[in-house]
């Protein structure tokens, strides 16, 4: 009877442990945190397609929004994956964005195109604008971006073609290999090798001709207008400075500086709309609305991951005036993917073809052997 009581107690304790394991009690946060929201939701983000709006909110341990906050943000791209490369291998394992921004309401928003799939790391350092308002803290947030479905679909189509062509070729060369007098190889095999050679020639021709046509179009499209990077109205003077030559994989710095046109003093807390546009497709890659600091400056570092020209634009709307806009063009040097990464992927696709070829040979020989056995 006493033993039964102990067994009952042990059973109850195990049940409680199992329940707590699956439903942990909500633990109150002991320090302030950063909450992150994205639009669209991370599971629906399509890499290299449309920009993602990221909203950060600093909250105190009770979950109430913190005010008068300074964010120092770093957005890091997913780690290097040579065995299953993304389409931007140079971008893997680098910094995509660095922002140092004031947030009077404790909220910071920016828009950024995520170039590749994988786990991004958003490192946020939060400090108070008024010294001692709260303890500065750091937080790292993981943003998981899925792969584009179309990539798997296209890869499946390519693999399907390779299996089909490999299998049929294997079936042909797995047949009778007796060479007639004056022949170098049996007729079906000569036909097959000639057909694949013709296909290779056709591919090279197609690629070269379409390359000629594409480069003719590109020459027409690259004519862009250049604008001044200094604008002045009666009250304000805006200057845009920063790197006008950038490299894929590295951050490029951009600075907006606003002065009072009459006194020459820096203008503090002026709202600036900054964005960068990829000129090839006229696509917005980054956007941010921030305010100028004590020196009238707003600085951010961004990586131009798409190795093509970009335009950086900053717009200021004075309270009683016409909107002022400054912009400059950034030439971006693209870096070719490392040879070893391309060879790894080439070996996957060629390997699939070679395996299908061997499978085709094996199936033909097996079926021939079984048909001989049946005929006996």
């Amino acid at each position: 009877m006493r033993n039964l009581k102990y067994v009952g107690l042990a059973l109850a304790a195990s049940l409680v442990s199992v329940f707590l394991w699956f439903n942990p009690l909500p633990s109150p946060a002991s320090q302030p945190t950063v909450q992150v929201q994205t639009e669209p939701a991370l599971s629906q983000v399509i890499p290299d397609e449309a920009s993602v709006r990221v909203a950060l909110q600093a909250v105190d341990p009770m979950g109430q929004p913190l005010s008068d906050v300074r964010f120092q943000l770093q957005l890091l791209t997913p780690a290097k994956t040579p065995w299953f490369t993304s389409d931007f291998p140079i971008v893997e394992g680098t910094k995509l964005l660095e922002l140092n921004a004031k947030a009077p309401s404790g909220k910071l928003e920016f828009e950024q195109v995520m170039p590749i799939r994988g786990n991004y790391m958003l490192k946020a350092q939060v400090t108070p604008l008024v010294a001692g308002a709260f303890e500065p803290f750091e937080q790292s947030l993981k943003l998981s971006v899925p792969e584009r479905f179309v990539k798997y679909r296209n890869a499946a189509i390519l693999i399907g073609i390779l299996i089909l062509v490999g299998g049929v070729s294997g079936w042909i060369i797995g047949g009778d290999q007796t060479v007639q007098d004056g022949e170098i190889a049996p007729q079906p095999i000569r036909l097959l090798l000639s057909a694949v050679t013709v296909l290779a020639i056709a591919v090279l021709l197609f690629v070269n001709i379409s390359a000629e046509l594409a480069s003719a179009h590109a020459r027409e499209e690259t004519q862009t207008t250049t604008t001044l990077s200094v604008q002045r109205s009666q009250d304000l003077e805006i200057r845009l400075s920063g790197d006008q030559r950038a490299t894929v994989g590295r951050l490029a710095s951009q600075t907006i500086q606003i002065f009072n046109a009459k006194t020459g003093n820096p203008e503090v807390n002026v709202i600036v709309n900054a964005k960068s546009i990829a000129l090839e497709d006229n696509k917005q890659m980054f956007a941010y609305q921030g305010s100028t600091d004590d020196q009238g400056k707003l600085t951010w570092n961004e990586q131009f991951f798409d190795g093509a020209p970009h335009q950086v634009i900053a717009e200021v709307t004075p309270p009683n005036g016409v909107a002022l806009q400054v912009s400059h063009e950034v030439e971006v040097e693209r870096i070719e993917p490392p040879l070893y990464i391309r060879f790894i992927s080439l070996s996957y696709y060629t390997g699939i073809f070679a395996l299908s070829l061997l499978a085709g040979i094996w199936f033909h020989r097996r079926s021939s052997r079984s048909s001989i056995l049946f005929s006996r």
Binding site: F84, T85, S86, D87, F88, P89, I90, E147, R148, V150, K151, Y152, N154, A155, L158, L162, V165, G166, S169, I173, Q177, V179, I184, A185, I189, L192, L193, V196, T197, L199, A200, V203, L204, V207, N208, S210, A211, E212, L213, A214, S215, A218, V248, G307, R334, I335, E336, P337, I341, R342, S345, L346, Y348, Y349, T350, F353, A354, L357, L358, I361
Partner: protein, 73 residues
């Protein structure tokens, strides 16, 4: 003397014929056929998906970005 030179000529003819026979056997033997087809396939895939020659790269830029495990730029 004449006999030995004749013998020598015959030997050269026999050996050249056997070399020709062996070359013919090896040129399109099954392993060579497999290697040829695989190399041609690798050449086609490399040209379409992995070459960095700018005009070739630009012509198939979207296809490269739209296929898994293909590094574009």
């Amino acid at each position: 003397m004449i006999g030995s030179s004749f013998h020598c000529e015959v030997q050269i003819m026999i050996s050249s014929t056997s070399v020709w026979q062996r070359t013919k056997q090896v040129t399109l033997s099954l392993p060579v056929q497999v290697a040829l087809l695989t190399s041609l396939c690798a050449l086609i895939i490399w040209t379409l998906y992995f070459s960095t020659y700018p005009p070739v790269h630009d012509a198939l830029h979207t296809t490269r970005h739209g296929t898994a495990a293909v590094a574009c730029h």
